[in-house]
Structure formats: structure tokens, C-alpha cells
Symmetry: C2
Amino acid sequence: MKWDALEEEPCSLARTVAVIGDRWSLLILRECFLRKRRFEAFQSSLGITRHLLAERLKKLVRFGVLRRIPYQQSPKRYEYILTQKGLDLYPVIMSIVHWGNIHMVDSRGRPMLHEHKKCGKMFDPVMVCSECGEPVTAKGVHVHPGPGARQAPTAA
Amino acid sequence: MKWDALEEEPCSLARTVAVIGDRWSLLILRECFLRKRRFEAFQSSLGITRHLLAERLKKLVRFGVLRRIPYQQSPKRYEYILTQKGLDLYPVIMSIVHWGNIHMVDSRGRPMLHEHKKCGKMFDPVMVCSECGEPVTAKGVHVHPGPGARQAPTAA
DNA sequence: ATTGACAGTTCTAAAACAGAACTATAAGGC
DNA sequence: GCCTTATAGTTCTGTTTTAGAACTGTCAAT
């Protein structure tokens, strides 16, 4: 299956994987959420090759996750900032970080702590139901085909 | 940077990307959450090559996300089920699906709807603070170095 | 004895990636 | 004017990963 085919799948997970499901995109987005914006900044803190970085940035711009904006004329220089679509990836990033915090840290503990400005405390993200506010677990959810489901009986 | 190096990074996101940050692992896990368990089932519904499927399953078992369990003797046959570590990826999967639902669906609408058994309603997942229960956004969070932070001034 | 189901393994060609060098534009120091 | 530095890429070559198809081994059913 080609990458392009993934985007066309009738599955929201597959389509999102087409955007962020490679080795570098999520790491680039991590840097974006840490307020990094420039090519050299991404390259030096990630250790990604320049070639691949240029390509990934193009991809993220093409998908509307980042916007490429000139920050000076002569010589023209651009920086990359998160669009609203990109900012909306925050729960994805945070849930990944949280899983890593629980299951992948070594004896030294978490590399980062997160403070919720509103309440002032260090917190973990919790996923709850938009309707009743109770936590959501795999076993507590029932799946139904939606209007965009594929007709053939294949998973979506 | 090699995949192995990713696992060693002092960053919970990087370490999690080492587990799920490729093109197929998340799709395999999607099938697991949809109660698929067997090699042939994964292969036929994903269209992944058998070679790569075998390798990815091994990787997920090695990381403790899946467990390989015999379901019959003679001939020996195995199936793959989610461990607790794997079940804990549910918020990651759901936040990815939700982002796709908002930003990647075509005119036909969502391929899938999710019902919260507890309240009986179709819902969206919402990420809230474990301490105060209020929703979490990128701008409402402040990041601090934790005990596992790298000493050199590099992003983690 | 033959077919089919299942869970893989092995092979070759194509695509993606790593690592390093190179290009283009301009500012600043001498 | 000439040299160095900064930034944002592009180009090149060799290695690794992936796609696609065919093949293996074990057993049950016909």
C-alpha cells in the first residue's frame, strides 16, 4: 500500500497516520509545540537530515498542519508555525507523551512535567466522554459504522 | 538517527514513537482494538505484506504491547492480544481518530461513531486535567524539566 | 492422495533514508 | 573588495527498509 492510498482510506485513523505516521513528523511537531519554528532549530535539535527535514516540512504544510511564513526579506527566510489544525494535534501529542511517561521511562523518571496554568498543578491528561464527562476506556466504548463507512465489510 | 537510538532519547514522545511511529503499527493496533487477533485477519484487512506484518508483530510483542498466545496445538497456532500496556494506548488511538474525524473526513462524514456504554450516547473524546478536570489546550500548559531530563540544553 | 487453512519465511526489485557536500543570498568585519 | 558567518535549503551516493509475490511446514477434512 502506498502512502497516497492511506489518505483515501475510509478510516480516520488511517488518514491521520498518512499525516503523522512516520518517524519524524511527530518529533517535528513536538518541537513546534515547544515554540521552535525554524529550519536550523529543528535540524539541530532533532538530528534529522536536512533533506528529510525539508521534505517533512513540505508535507506538513501541504496537509495544513504548519504554515510557512516569511520572517524577513533579503535574504528571504521562512519559519513554520502551527495552524489551528496543527494546534488541534495537542491531545494526540499529549496522550503519546503520557503513555511514554507511564510505560517507557527509565529509572531517572520523567523527562518533562506539565503544569496546568489554570489550576497551577502538575497534571496528567485524562480522556473523558464529551457527553457525560466520565473517563473513557477501550472496554467502555461500542463502535458503530458512521455515514462515511465503506460498504464492503472491512474494518474502518 | 537509528530506530534503536530513539528508544534511548530522554523524551517520552520519542520513546513512544519508537514503538508506534511507523506506518503500520498503529493500523495493526486499530485492528486489535476491533477484536482482531490473528495473522490472517490482520493481513487481509490491512493489505500489509506478510513479511512486514510478521516483523511488526514481533516488534509489538518485544515492546510488551501485544502477547503471543497459542490458541491450539497441532498445528501450533498463535494469536495476538493486547496487554495492559497495549490497552493503555487507547487514548492515543482515540485522539488520533478524533483528529481525523475533525480534519480529514470527506463529504460522506465519519467512517465510525463511538458510543459510551456508560451514558449511552455517541461521544467525542475530550482531554482534561487530572487535577482540576478542566480541558487541556496547548496554550494552557507550561512545561518543566523533570527528573529524567537531559542535562545538556536540548529539547526533551 | 489431494485440497485447503493458517502462520509464517524467503526472494528480488523499488522506494525511502542517512550522511555528507554543495548552492544561494546577504550581512558584518577588515 | 575579500573573507567569514548565518540561514534555508538542494544534490549526490550508498545503505536500509519496504512492496509484491512465491514458497514452506503442519495438520484436518474429503
